[in-house]
Symmetry: C2
Subunit: 337 residues, 2 copies
DNA sequence: GTGAAAGCGCTAACAT
DNA sequence: ATGTTAGCGCTTTCAC
């Protein structure tokens, strides 16, 4: 009476099938040279035992694990969520898997990437997080590509990136607001340190300035609802009151709408225009009808996956910017339609 | 000029440090018997090479990977998202990692779990998905515990589960609605097949029936906004119109509110009471003020992790139900307060 | 086409 | 406390 609680090994299968252990390996290796009959025998034996090759052992030999490491900022934004969804679908189609870490603090990212490296992941994807240059260098040295999603390189050439056109989207929004007749602008930034926020901010501001308008009033909302509520209150309390608010993401824009409507009694669009960024689901709900800019997350992830699978040239990783499209809605229309 | 692109091995470190390879292993093994001086030497050598033990090799020997497999339903709900966040934090504190799969279709789950097994994961967590009994048996046979989150066992004793008190929450809601004076009830279910939805539904319905009221009118919303919009339209168009709607989750309840308010011109609370389940962020927004039942996701995940880490008794896996708390808001009050 | 044998990088006896 | 020796389960020469 054997007490093994472990899975059957290639040896077990070999014994039952009456072949060598190597033959079992070959039976499960796609283009290996093995007779059809042998393979059948092996498969039958494997079936009866419920055997499947141990991927850990394979990884050890091949030096690669079939695993892609993903580090996600915490809390997960809707954007990183859909990115993860898309990524999982594409990668599992390619037979790869995802090891996920959520980076609570900002400094934790490096630690996570170190761990990832120890699993010999085939690549590292950073969603809404960045990693130290030192570590990026080490990944590079070990041949593990790093791809950064929505965080363009800060002068480092050790990782590739796929980024949405944050500047362009913000500029579209500024143009639109101007054309709708809004003139006194307020801005709710994400984090001052976040490049995404900075790009959205500068795309917006620099267009306005180029048109001869003053810098918009600015508050920081930290990408969170609470922060945005405070920021919106401050901005809308100023005299003269801004007649349009641009928020670095939709989440904050929805908060701003709630403040404008329920605390200041303003009618959205007519009294104050409010625009966001990302086109999350709620933006299209009838209570909000939020003007926003939509980044094609799926397309972006497709690019990421293409980079991952081709093990993109290590010498000079590429940086891609993907355009989205502007979606005007009633939250920035003087008169509803 | 060496061309290795691979990470340094324990052997490399041993040579530099002038010790045996086993000593290197011991230096990195927490309570191993090794002299302080030797460990120092090893660490210095390791540092200079950027060496960290290869977890793949370790997993191969130990027969366990330090990886927990998670299968998430697609699209990810806010609940599974926060569950994932919490899980990641707790597990990484315990030195474990998460291999994530998103199950697009429903039948894909088995395939994913098979893959997980091949990585010799230490446990499998099912978020909003279920697995075939056959596979559950195999996991059991291989000593890999399966824990199901928010999906109680359908008669199978091959996996453990941690579930929110769906029946209890729904019953609370029914009591509250009745006490608020609502009398003609409508119900928007999730999926008919989903046990979560069935429990919420039956908890609600059976309380009403026990009070001598008729079965509520019922539509299915598939847990999605689109489905809920249709369902709400149908229910609110009936004569006599229901004066209260209970939805199997908040997401659908928000959709129902939008329909009632913007399509039927009803005042929420006064003309029609609407309640949901889950207490997602949006439920507390001023545009909704949705009455709902909050499940303590973090606590639930803590239980899950406890089960995972103690490698819960395999013979008869436990099933835990966790209570939440009822949150009455204005969406079910005849007169606002 | 197939088996024997040598590792992948590490841990765990077993000696010393 | 440390080195030596076997493997973990697989892939991959290398003979045949």
């Amino acid at each position: 009476m054997s007490n093994r609680i472990s899975a059957p090994s290639a040896h077990d299968v070999a014994r039952i099938a009456g072949v060598s252990q190597a033959a079992v390996s070959r039976a499960f290796t796609p283009g290996a040279s093995i007779a059809k009959a042998t393979r059948e025998k092996v498969f039958r034996a494997a079936e009866s035992l419920g055997y499947r090759p141990n991927l850990i052992a394979r990884s050890l030999i091949k030096g690669e694990s079939g695993i892609v490491g993903v580090v996600i900022g915490n809390p997960m934004s809707p954007t990183s969520m859909s990115a993860l969804d898309a990524l999982s679908a594409l990668l599992s189609a390619a037979g790869k898997h995802i090891l996920v870490f959520t980076a609570d603090g900002s400094s934790a990212v490096d630690v996570h990437v170190e761990d990832l490296l120890r699993y010999r992941v085939d690549a590292v994807l950073l969603l809404t997080t960045i990693v130290s240059t030192t570590l990026a260098e080490r990944c590079q040295a070990e041949g593990v590509p790093i791809i950064s999603f929505n965080r363009p390189p800060r002068g480092s050439k050790f990782f590739a990136s796929v980024t949405g056109d944050n500047r362009g989207g913000a500029k579209c929004t500024a143009e639109h607001l101007l054309q709708q007749g809004y003139r006194r602008f307020g801005l709710i930034a994400g984090y001052s340190e976040s490049s995404t926020s900075r790009d959205r901010e500068s795309g917006f501001t620099s267009f306005l300035v180029s048109q001869g308008l003053p810098q918009p009033e600015r508050e920081v909302g930290h990408y969170k609802r609470e922060g945005a509520l405070l920021a919106a209150r401050k901005l809308l309390a100023r005299k003269p009151r801004p007649d349009a608010l641009f928020c670095a993401n939709d989440h904050m824009a929805l908060a701003a709408i709630d403040v404008a409507r329920y605390e200041f009694g303003l009618e959205i669009g007519r009294d104050v225009g409010i625009a966001g960024f990302d086109n999350i689901d709620e933006a299209s709900w009838p209570g909000y009808e939020l003007t926003t800019y939509s980044l094609p997350v799926e397309t972006m992830i497709e690019k990421v996956v293409a980079m991952l699978l081709t093990r993109t040239p290590r010498k000079s990783p590429g940086h891609t910017t993907v355009e989205g499209h502007f979606i005007p809605r009633n939250s920035t229309r003087r008169t509803r339609k």
